[in-house]
Symmetry: C2
Subunit: 702 residues, 2 copies
Amino acid sequence: MEAQAVSQKSLETMFRPKSIAILGASRDENKIGGRPLKYLKHYAFDGPIYPVNPNYPKIQGLKAYKSILEVGGDVDLALIVLPAAAVVQAIRDCAEKGVNAVVIFSAGFAETGEEGHAAELEMRRIAEQAGIRIVGPNCMGIAAFDHNMIITFGVSMLNLPPALGPVSIVSQSGAYGNVAYAEARQRHLGVRLWATTGNEADVNVADCLNYYVEDPETKVILMYFEASRDGAKLMAGLAAAKEARKPVVAIKVGSSDVGAEAALSHTNSLVGSDSVVDTVLKKYNAYRAYSMDEFFDIGYAFTSGLFPAGNRIGLVTISGGAGILMSDHAVKLGLDVARLSAAAQDKVREVIPFAGTRNPVDITGQAVNQPDILEQCLNIMIEADEYDVIIVYLAGMTSLEFLQRTGLTRVREKHPKAAIILSITMDEEAWHIFNDLNYLVIPDPTRAVGAAAGLMQMGQGYAKAEPPAPPSLPAPVEVPAETVNEVEAKRILAKAGVPVVDERLATSAAEAGRAAAEIGFPVAMKLVSTDILHKSEIGGVLLGIGDEAAARNGYDTLIERARTAQSDAKIDGVVVAPMISGGVETILGVKVDPAFGPVVLFGLGGIFVELLGDVTQRLAPFGAQEAHGMMREVKGFPLLDGARGAAPADIDALAEALSRLSQFAHENRDRIESIDINPFLVLPKGQGAFAVDALIIPSNRP
Amino acid sequence: MEAQAVSQKSLETMFRPKSIAILGASRDENKIGGRPLKYLKHYAFDGPIYPVNPNYPKIQGLKAYKSILEVGGDVDLALIVLPAAAVVQAIRDCAEKGVNAVVIFSAGFAETGEEGHAAELEMRRIAEQAGIRIVGPNCMGIAAFDHNMIITFGVSMLNLPPALGPVSIVSQSGAYGNVAYAEARQRHLGVRLWATTGNEADVNVADCLNYYVEDPETKVILMYFEASRDGAKLMAGLAAAKEARKPVVAIKVGSSDVGAEAALSHTNSLVGSDSVVDTVLKKYNAYRAYSMDEFFDIGYAFTSGLFPAGNRIGLVTISGGAGILMSDHAVKLGLDVARLSAAAQDKVREVIPFAGTRNPVDITGQAVNQPDILEQCLNIMIEADEYDVIIVYLAGMTSLEFLQRTGLTRVREKHPKAAIILSITMDEEAWHIFNDLNYLVIPDPTRAVGAAAGLMQMGQGYAKAEPPAPPSLPAPVEVPAETVNEVEAKRILAKAGVPVVDERLATSAAEAGRAAAEIGFPVAMKLVSTDILHKSEIGGVLLGIGDEAAARNGYDTLIERARTAQSDAKIDGVVVAPMISGGVETILGVKVDPAFGPVVLFGLGGIFVELLGDVTQRLAPFGAQEAHGMMREVKGFPLLDGARGAAPADIDALAEALSRLSQFAHENRDRIESIDINPFLVLPKGQGAFAVDALIIPSNRP
């Protein structure tokens, strides 16, 4: 799961084939088997097209073949539009013909149940042997608009003709991919590459992502997915995109339980935990969108290529009301509506004495009579160099003629690199003029603020130095295949460098007495048995044991309670530990995600996790610096930082433990299912921190 | 502040004048003084228009007057477009002429400082004497489109001609009002009445709200405001709107500190606490929007007049992906994406065997070939009677011809009252056809879900029974004008029915000893002095006092510490109280908002309020039932409900105390600034609850 680019050369022939066959081509241009042929002809695909259909000599004016095997020339790409039952044989034929890639529209495979799943595995097997890449089944096709290659049955590519641009789209859902193309075009976004992956028998969203990153003309990637079974490849693609500064906007659906259930029945794919995907996207600086408007607003904003690393937003407005609306939204998104410096405020007042100057700079309705006020005030804002993004808001539909009188063109000539969003409703002609000047035009003011936040989020991610590599473990620490008791679990964690409580396992009353004396009174005593899960419920924990005799008695009491509760329980003994007061209870955890590997969780104990779900997580491994950032993400962090008059806790020790745990989880990712350290007690600064209880669940996976 | 409709008869002549004079009328149709005249002529205002301008005999083809006093006929409404310095005299002239209402565009009044504020007070004084209503100054005018009466200088009413409809708009900000009109029209929303109130020297947003509620043809009210100085009138209008089932969609800006600061400089008005406004809007079932899209989406949705009282959403989609996207968003908004009943699922499968049937019902791309699938599945969903709102999602731009083949028209004939949103991109012709069938058309799927949530929120609000009236206090309890000590504060609250700790004030060591003995050991002792605010910092609290001698010593110790800390402090004595363990610490508070009266706050003690800001509030007064709903809104509520193995707390006692406190605050709203009861300890069920400490700050207002 290292972040390295996966070479995607094998997709080249798929996206840019020299020749195409259509198995199941139809004479009816409006049928699923007829539309792709129509599009290829309509948009002048530059290469031979071979309709395959045994029933007709000619299809849509082209010679038709009874079988792909009858085609004389080479076939790079074959589109299969046949009933499900005929698909596997068709792939055999493609293999024999030496086809490089197939696109399968046909549904009726893994999404329908066992039988379909078996057929999908079979087609995959044949394709792998023959070196064929498969797109689908149950997809809506692919397109490379720079190559006039459009293989789909959606109507939007006919209704909204392609216009080349910097955006490439990949969608697991065919219908959503179709919508995404239509929406992009309706919003004037130029699209370059487009793919829907459907059931993902072979080519998946991650494959396309990697290919798009390597495509020189793709600048922004829009990605829709429901599940990712190939986490390593997805992470490699995201890492490569980050490295290449090609921002990725992702919609990952299934964040709700209901959604997740629908996803399951929709693509028959296992949805990884949504929060893990969120963690992955954050790690690789990909932007996660939650609605179509956000998906395209942000995608559009990213085409500007301007990613300022700060979070200060400047607002120039003709309406005080809209200015406050934007301020409110900016603050909600964590932006800094920084006050304009006094010197610059003075300059604004020189231009228009009654202006609001603080930020928002309110140039008032006066701009209607004197459009050049805007130019002057905007220049003052830019030249003050106090903002990362500036939004200009004008009210209502604004004519090109008026916009030209505002001097926005001159502002751009003077300041070509300033990130400026025009929150202005304008007609299409004006849109193209100002968009070509690399202004972003997003009429709705709150959405303009959202886009500014997106640019800044991306910029901050790009500017952030890679955190130092986490420390390796002192020596490899292996996890046994069976669940071990808590004492053993802590012993293993201690070897990995996670500090644990100073405790002794006693297997007799006498040992218990001696152990207690060594530790010093009072002590706590706890039954150790992997068979008894809820120890406190059977009275398996004794606190405040004050002397050696009580410790010996305590041992006998605990063993007797265990026998009474469950006579056949395997009892490993009694653990004796010091009674500790003070410190902050935290919870450290690990969950190994099947797609993305181990994830480390952190939260504060008690109500924070149980009542508030106040946890944060990171992909393992990571260093102490990252752990420091992580712990600051929980709402309860001030309790570690000395809130409410308490002593600040030893967060350095906590950070070190989190980092060590992450490294341990990383090295044992194939052997672990999950780890719970609860509580992990953090003492006041300088006094350390340690695991009080721990559970390691080994993996059952092969 | 009772919820009763304020009669707005006096605004009738203002919105529907028979004659209009324009003071400062301009010959230039594009000047601020020229545009209103142009609009009145262009849209054929049915009554005499009198341009007033001493420099020309004719203006835009009409006879001009040197002064309004020269006009022969009556003048109902006068528009003033003069330099600020000339406005006051103009109003004197209007008074002499017997004008009913004036609209003042001119800026340069209260928003600019002292002098302008004085001029505004003067114009108000003249107008009050003469019985003239003033709109503005610093506004963009008013319009009654059913009366062809358009008084504004914004261009949008020329660019986007009016179309009568069910929506009336009022905006404090002129520019925002202008945008709101333009946006409404661009979104095909018909507008009836429109007003911008600017500085609100007289007519304010609340006046217009009340007038709109009484307007028979207004069905939906869109309201933008920055501050409300007249809380009683606003609440009366909201209550009347709720009563009349005319939904109000409000944008109230200034939710952030930055925004609030900008609001202050923008309209020179005092912004009430944003959370109080939120509480007010919730109480009267008004919908608060946070962006323009939301403002208009919801406003548009409300024109359907369909307000189902449940929260179950049904989704019919052609794209599984979009279905999950909508599900995710619905869950985020608290909607129930309820599973379709098995019987109905079977029926769906009869129509299309491979459909997703659970909800979302995924009718798949098959609908492209067989459009009537949609009709059949939609009918099944409606007839199952399991959903409050149903959204139909079709992907991409959809042609009218296709839509007609889906049978949506027949569905409507069969089920005229079903709340159905079409999340479908269609052209204007199709929009009008389906909109006229009372389908809501909101293409973006997540925004469609948001609109559904809005309909349900409104419906649930309308369906909710009015909570029973709160109990009156046993007898009037007055608050002294000076701040009293905590013992006295608790005595006052106890009289109002708020239970307080059983404690004694001792003014000598001997008294302290006796008091402690009466209460029973151990006791807590605390210094009582209104001069010493932070008692614990000077050691002014003693805990766990075990016998009478210790209590006597404790008294002397506390008095000495007080003298040492502040020799001139007035010391009222030492309070002796029982030591109590257990119970849940809560915080009860009151803040009297200058515009909306007393608001009662509730939160859990400690980290919940301090760290998490986990509080909720209600307008006073309210009964115990409402208090029960209130306490359930805080995240920490489970701690009162027996979370983590604790005994359930006496929430009935807590609810009763909250209600009593609210009644007390209500009855003393003019004498109180704020009350803090912290902590208010809630013991286990059946054991009661009581105030441990209390502070009442009397009002300084006259």
